[in-house]
């Protein structure tokens, strides 16, 4: 049976959910196609508790028909969903489930800086966006209200605001206060991070009660996830089809999009005919589909840039034991950061970065305090002939001083960093897996060195011991680029509204649109862009 709809949205993460909700409320009929299954929150919490490695993906199914990358497999050659073509592993993962990666995101919602939209003009590297900060600012306001961002109205952090936040800021942690004292001594400041986490009842959702588990799953839904907009879209008449793996985009003879084809777990195919197609399947799956479509000839790729310029915010991770107890493992996993480094004058030379301060001790990204007793490389925390209260006290003292900094690097667009569908490596339903070529690059590595030096200065002020600076970048889970927006059809995939240069009724929503990535966690920006694109579709 062929489905007919005004708008088909491919992907049910935050971008797809916002577009679907907005268009369904405007009177369009909307069909949302999600590759993976729906999730029961309570059941997923139990799966998390039973997992031996508390990785971001641990509560969620990795189905045969919608496999996803996992932290445990990244960097292990020959394993996992990605085919890592090197030279560096691409370190970020995502979920393919109803609601997408909003199930396991941290919830941080800083805005980009005005300068992030003009990186080439101001610093001579990267490219400029086809829109400015001022163009996007009203949509940032709308996005903050849609997803519910808690923040401090009096701390714009370099991004001018035309309106306040819908909720007061999430209180910073005791740990943040200790780090702030250290930062002040070297001329820096720790600031509360805007977060999509309720500090009061908002849209009928409970405020945060400090379950300390934003990643991988908030047990009570106090952190925004895309189900909020998916549920509302469905209540208003949208059709949500899970376990529907889109693999083709159909074209009319005039080059416009006619719809999409999805595959079920039993390998049968279904067609959805639509007046508008919105690709919102993230910055790996969206280009994979576009490049696989049309018999492998691709759709919307006259520029040759679909799948290229894959970017992340590679993380310089550093651990230590503070000289005094900071009491981590309490509350949201991060409540503050150092923002001034985002505006470094040296962005012509190396990455700017944002210093995220972790409240999660040493457990990033695969662990948990329990992990320190069953660590295959470091052995157990328990020493031979140690036990009783002496062990408990040594453990308590150790954990109370655990501190983590993670500096998120701005990575420049590089067309050689790309994802292509690998037709020689198929998944269980016969669809190509992503083949990823990726290089971190000197610009990022030099930024990581700067971040390491800053972490060291902070550790000095904290009188920290047992300092570790991880020698390779972790993925931030911020998958970006690959269908970049731009003014020139020869140098970009979509225009500044997210509309394909080649296929006028084909739109892209999500962080795949980013021409450059700045140093802000991407979700708020992609949400603002998605709302803006939905408005363009609504008016068209």
């Amino acid at each position: 049976m062929t489905i007919r709809t005004d708008v088909v949205v491919v992907g049910s993460g935050v971008a797809g959910a916002l577009v679907a909700d907005r268009l369904q409320r405007s009177g369009r009929s909307v069909t949302i196609l999600e590759a993976g299954p729906p999730i029961d929150r309570d059941q997923a919490v139990e799966v998390f508790r039973a997992a031996t490695a508390k990785v971001p993906e641990s509560p969620y199914p990795n189905t045969d028909w919608a496999p996803h990358p996992t932290v445990l497999e990244i960097g292990v050659p020959g394993t996992g969903y990605f085919f890592q073509n090197g030279p560096d592993p691409f370190g970020s993962t995502y979920e393919r489930i109803v609601g997408g990666t909003t199930w396991h995101w941290l919830g941080s919602c800083p805005r980009l800086l005005p300068s992030d939209f003009q990186l080439h003009t101001l610093f001579g590297v990267g490219v400029d966006w086809p829109i400015t900060y001022n163009d996007l600012e009203p949509w940032y306001v709308k996005a903050e209200h849609e997803i519910g961002v808690a923040g401090n109205d009096n701390a714009p952090q370099g991004s001018p605001r035309s309106a306040g936040f819908p909720m007061p800021a999430v209180p910073t942690s005791y740990l943040d206060k200790i780090v702030n004292q250290a930062a002040n001594r070297i001329g820096l400041k720790v600031e509360a991070t805007p977060q999509a986490r309720n500090t009061e009842t908002f849209n009928d959702r409970h405020h945060c009660v400090g379950n300390s588990n934003c990643i991988p799953i908030c047990p009570i839904g106090a952190k925004y996830d895309a189900l909020i907009h998916l549920d509302r879209a469905v209540e208003n008449g949208a059709k949500l089809i899970s376990n529907a793996v889109v693999w083709d985009v159909l074209l009319n003879a005039d080059g416009t999009a006619r719809g999409v084809v999805y595959r079920r777990p039993d390998r049968s195919d279904e067609t959805v005919l639509a007046n508008v197609v919105v690709m919102a399947a993230n910055a790996i799956e969206t280009p994979k589909i576009l490049l696989s479509a049309n018999g492998g000839r691709g759709v919307g790729n006259s520029s040759g840039l679909v799948g290229r310029n894959l970017m992340d915010h590679p993380i310089q991770l550093s651990y230590a034991l503070s000289g005094e107890p900071v009491f981590p493992q309490r509350g949201p996993l991060s409540t503050a950061g150092i923002e001034s480094t985002r505006q470094a004058a040296t962005r012509n030379l190396h990455s700017a970065f944002r210093v995220e301060i972790g409240n999660d001790g040493w457990k990033f990204p695969i662990g948990d305090p329990t992990f320190e007793f069953a660590n295959q490389s470091n052995g157990t925390f328990v020493q031979l002939r140690e036990g009783g209260n002496a062990l408990a006290q040594r453990w308590r003292d150790h954990v109370s001083k655990e501190i983590r900094f993670g500096s998120l690097m701005e990575q420049l667009p590089n067309p050689d960093n790309r994802i292509v569908p690998d037709f020689t490596r198929l998944d269980a339903i016969g669809l190509p897996r992503p083949r990823i070529s990726f290089t971190i690059g000197a610009y990022v590595r030099d930024g990581m060195a700067e971040a390491t030096a800053l972490h060291e200065r902070l550790f000095d002020q904290l009188k920290a011991t047992e300092r570790t600076h991880v020698g390779f970048p972790f993925g931030a889970g911020h998958v970006m680029g690959t269908t970049q927006m731009g003014a020139d059809p020869a140098r970009s995939v979509t225009d500044g509204d997210g509309r394909s240069h080649d296929v006028p009724n084909l739109f892209v929503a999500g962080s795949s649109l980013f021409p450059t990535v700045g140093t802000a966690n991407p979700t708020l920006t992609l949400a603002a862009l998605a709302l803006r694109t939905a408005d363009v579709i609504r008016r068209s």
Partner: protein
């Protein structure tokens, strides 16, 4: 169970079904040897220091077995499976924090624990 609890100075108790999983994962002969040297003696130890003073852990096998029991209990992990997450001693012994996925209340994280 008595041995496990003595290893923690009887500050914590181990649920039977969880303790059974830890026991099943230990070498039976090594466990028996440690039990005989500790809780089956005329004056069973009640604390870890009692065990140390008795000399039972001078035996390297006994010391390793005691270390393994505590590792299981603190981690909640045995043979690459989770036996008990919420009552793993890594969490339960902290005092200032509770296991991830359970609440401490808003906004306790902003305060220094009492």
């Amino acid at each position: 169970m008595a041995l496990s609890e003595a290893l923690t100075d009887e500050e914590f108790s181990l649920r039977d079904e969880v303790g059974a999983q830890y026991k099943a994962a230990l070498d039976p002969a090594a466990l028996s040897r440690l039990v005989q040297a500790t809780v089956r003696t005329a004056n069973p130890p009640r604390t870890f220091n009692d065990i140390l003073r008795s000399g039972a852990l001078n035996d390297p096998t006994n010391a390793a077995t005691a270390q393994q029991i505590l590792t299981y209990w603190y981690s909640g992990l045995v043979n690459d499976k989770t036996a008990d997450y919420l009552e793993a001693l890594a969490w339960e012994s902290l005092g200032f924090a509770v296991p991830s996925s359970t609440k401490i209340g808003f906004p306790k994280w902003a305060e220094k624990p009492s």
